[in-house]
């Protein structure tokens, strides 16, 4: 029954875990960057667009939100190349998936942010004679960023955790690193204990840093 913990094997292969953690972060950062772009553009289109456009955006959001991420990962990696003539490696395919996935969640975040801006601010912009583009870049965008920053950090942290799903298509991120150690050394408990600790520490560190950032951006009392 007894199980003797032996972390030596894990430390010997720690480069797999450390490299994996860095790749996890990289995947999360690239995906949220693209996701923010998708979310912002679609949120603006949703706010200013017609019925038809809104329907299409709603269909995208609802589809992505109601399907398991792992299925989307398989679909993009194994399914899509059968239909269209594209070739990508596993990591690229995962970034595509996670970007489209996060985009669907971020549309809602941005939309809520845009709608939460007091109308008086936009009117004030008009009164000052700002062009629509100036109103967007210097009134709506900064106001919205302040409102959505907490939701954005939460999305980022949950995306960081979601990168673990990339292991199913053998992207060498953190969970894959733990699996590799498990398969090659059979130090199962140790590998997953270390992986768990790394996810926890990184996650809470990110949370701490993002909360600091949010406080810096908080201008005025109401925001």
């Amino acid at each position: 029954m007894g199980y003797d913990l032996n972390f030596a094997v894990v430390w010997r292969n720690f480069d797999k875990m450390w490299g994996g953690l860095l790749l996890s972060l990289e995947l999360a950062v690239i995906s949220i960057a693209i996701g923010v772009l998708i979310g912002l553009v679609l949120a603006l289109a949703h706010v200013s667009g017609g019925r038809w456009l809104r329907g299409v955006i709603a269909a995208y959001v609802e589809t992505i939100r109601n399907v398991p991420l792992i299925l989307l990962v398989y679909l993009v990696f194994y399914g899509l190349p059968q239909a269209v003539d594209i070739r990508y490696d596993a990591a690229t395919s995962f970034v595509v998936t996670l970007s489209v996935y996060s985009g669907a969640y971020l549309v809602e975040v941005f939309r809520a942010g845009l709608e939460a801006i007091p109308k008086g601010q936009i009117d004030a912009g008009k009164a000052l004679g700002l062009t629509p583009w100036q109103r967007f870049t210097s009134v709506r965008l900064p106001a919205m960023i302040r409102i959505i920053l907490p939701a954005l950090s939460n999305t980022f942290i949950s995306l960081f955790k979601d990168t673990s799903v990339a292991s199913v298509i053998a992207v060498p991120e953190l969970t894959w690193g733990a699996q590799w150690i498990n398969l090659n050394t059979f130090r199962i408990v140790e590998a997953y204990l270390i992986a768990t600790a790394m996810y926890l520490v990184t996650g809470y560190l990110l949370l701490f840093l993002l909360r600091l950032l949010e406080r810096r951006f908080r201008v005025g009392r109401h925001a």
Partner: protein
């Protein structure tokens, strides 16, 4: 494409059933455990509160996938042995329990303190206060996010395929293993998950509207 989908459907019923059973067990057990632990977090003694807080923050801080592997591969090594199915249910339930704890905490703490004080003033015991004063009001705040979270349980259950549990996701991969037609099958799978989850979120929106008079 339609032909392959029609061919595959009979093979998926078993898996769909397992997906629904895993989700239902997860949701059911976590509801009971989460409400109990949630009460412990709000009303318990300090050591108990810290313990529940630690549990909830740890579980919510790691990916479900890692939790799943941890329970499946790690628990047998320390003497707790179960098959893939129960390992999967245990891991998903642990995760969901942590969420339910937070929903409950949010719901109960949204109720003004005056309500508890009023309950005390008319001589209700602790159990009576919970039963007649706090829970009926907290339910309205608790239900919408909880039902929304049920879709997370259904989506999360797709990960159990990685432990070799033949759920919907796994049976889709099995059919693809035979036919090598990935795209139609994954689209079919996405559609089935969509139908289940969309119905659940439609239900949650209806409930949210029903209980929206509480928002003020």
């Amino acid at each position: 494409m339609l032909e392959q989908i029609v061919y595959a459907i009979p093979f998926l019923f078993g898996g769909l059933w397992v997906t629904l059973v895993v989700s239902a067990l997860t949701v059911g057990i976590s509801l009971v455990a989460g409400v109990l632990l949630g009460c412990a977090l709000i009303y318990g003694a300090l050591p108990l509160r810290l313990l529940v807080r630690l549990f909830s923050d740890t579980i919510r801080g790691i990916p479900i996938l890692v939790l799943l592997f941890f329970v499946y591969y790690g628990f047998p090594a320390i003497g707790i042995d179960f098959d893939a199915f129960w390992a999967a249910v245990t891991a998903l339930t642990l995760f969901k329990t942590a969420q339910v704890i937070e929903y409950l905490r949010g719901a109960v703490q949204s109720i003004p303190r005056g309500q508890t004080e009023a309950g005390m003033a008319i001589g209700l015991t602790f159990a009576e206060r919970l039963r007649y004063v706090i829970f009926p009001q907290a339910l309205r705040r608790f239900l919408p996010p909880w039902i929304n979270g049920v879709t997370d349980a259904v989506k999360g259950s797709a990960l159990v395929s990685l432990l070799g549990v033949t759920d919907l996701m796994h049976s889709i991969n099995q059919v693809i293993g035979r036919t090598y037609e990935a795209l139609p099958l994954y689209i079919l799978g996405a559609f089935i998950y969509f139908v289940i989850n969309y119905s659940l979120s439609a239900l949650s929106r209806r409930l949210e509207r029903r209980f929206s008079f509480m928002q003020a």
